[in-house]
């Protein structure tokens, strides 16, 4: 009856962006783009929806607040629970990938008649 909810790709990368230390909203956007090889450009509305859900789930928490040029910059930090969830997700994806990659050489071998 328990439904296993996988992390969506944006959420996964938002969590991953915080692994090396706290970042503010704009910093997260840049880091996500960098980590995804430029394939994931989050809208600000999408990012803050994700941060709200992740805060509620206890995966992320607010860090320090800075005022830069009169604008608020709040940093977000990955919690221990968030780090565990992200790690479990990465392991699950690696296992799923292995189902395919482990079979690839044999399939390729059959295909080439070796």
């Amino acid at each position: 009856m328990v439904l296993v909810v996988r992390l969506q790709r944006p959420t996964y990368f938002v969590l991953a962006s915080l692994m090396d230390g706290p970042l503010h909203g704009y910093g997260i956007l840049g880091r996500v783009e960098e980590l995804s090889g430029g394939s994931l450009r989050l809208a600000v509305g999408t990012l803050y929806g994700a941060l709200d859900r992740l805060s509620e789930a206890g995966f992320v928490e607010p860090d320090r607040v800075e005022q830069v040029e009169g604008r608020t910059r709040r940093y977000y930090r990955l919690t221990e629970e968030g780090r565990r969830r992200l790690g479990a997700e990465a392991v699950a994806m690696a296992e799923a990938a292995r189902v395919v990659t482990d079979r690839l050489p044999r399939d390729l071998a059959l295909e080439t008649g070796q």
Partner: protein, 309 residues
């Protein structure tokens, strides 16, 4: 960065509920202006779409307070509401099919069931609206439409007059009055309110769907809709087994149907004799499922978006 752009983004952020805006507004504005192209005066389409979608979603989320019950009720109600609209539209379509084949006795209630689609839509707007004044307007409109529709069906000189059993006809009226009552006392999700609001949400869900489908009970007694009803129950049971949240949704969608069926069992009616044959009959049989399927799919998509962290 232009002052115009800042003002426009600021106004756009107003679609978020106040609590969310107080918490994230300033940083969002900073990030929006930081990522904007030089010289831009209007919000980008991409950011606008994300803010509008996020704002509507946040407002819908705030309707249910208790975080543990929130996911289940929210997704269940959403799916149930979509099922309800699907069933209502299916019934309109089925009626239209009957009309087309001229095999049904007088069709007096088609405008009525179309009207109920609007009642349902008003109720949904009331349910997702956060501001108390907007909700009051929607609730008032729902009440007037529900009572007005009912009065029209029982007033012998009206074009919608339809001789029927008071016990069956009273169900849509009762749900029509229960819905506004539930919506009006449906509080914002302040701490301590969630128990009461959860209960009222649970009441409002069946009421909404009751409004949507209870008004056309005769279609449940005809040769086509009866097997459809039992198939629907079968599908509902399968869905409910798959996930507890779907149990909420199916309960919401099925309860009014069951009430109407009980009403018919207790007070049988002899004036309905409906049947369609051939291709028309096939279309009439299949179309409700296609619509229910389409709306379930849509509801499920929204549901998975709402529950995936």
């Amino acid at each position: 960065v232009t002052a115009q752009l800042e003002r426009r983004y600021g106004r756009l952020l107003g679609v978020y509920p106040p609590a969310f805006r107080d918490r994230y507004g300033p940083e969002m504005l900073a990030a929006l202006l930081h990522t904007a192209d030089v010289g831009r005066k209007w919000p980008s389409a991409r950011e606008t779409a994300a803010i509008l979608g996020g704002g509507i979603r946040q407002r819908a989320l705030q309707q249910v307070g208790d975080p543990s019950a929130r996911g289940a009720l929210r997704s269940g109600l959403l799916l149930g509401a979509f099922l309800g609209l699907g069933v209502q539209m299916a019934m309109c379509l089925q009626r239209w099919n009957h009309d087309w084949t001229a095999q049904v006795a007088p069709i007096t209630d088609e405008p009525q069931s179309q009207l109920m689609v609007w009642v349902w839509a008003t109720a949904l707007i009331a349910a997702v609206t956060q501001t108390q004044s907007a909700r009051r307007v929607a609730v008032a409109a729902t009440s007037v439409l529900a009572v007005g529709t009912w009065l029209y069906t029982v007033w012998p000189k009206s074009t919608l007059y339809y001789p029927s059993n008071w016990a069956v006809e009273i169900i849509p009226l009762a749900t029509g009055l229960l819905l506004p009552a539930a919506l009006l006392s449906w509080q914002r999700d302040d701490i301590g309110e969630h128990r009461r609001s959860s209960l009222l949400v649970a009441l409002a869900g069946p009421a909404m769907v009751g409004l949507a489908i209870g008004i056309t009970p005769e279609s449940l007694t005809d040769a086509i809709a009866l097997p459809a009803y039992f198939l629907l129950v079968g599908v509902a049971v399968l869905l409910a087994v798959a996930d507890p949240r779907l149990a909420v949704a199916t309960a919401v969608a099925i309860l009014p149907l069951a009430l109407v069926q009980v009403g018919h069992a207790v007070f049988p009616r002899q004036d309905i004799d409906v049947g369609a044959a051939g291709l028309a009959g096939f279309i009439a049989f299949v179309s409700p499922f296609a619509l229910v399927g389409a709306f379930s799919w849509l509801g499920l998509r929204l549901w998975s978006k709402a529950t995936t962290t």
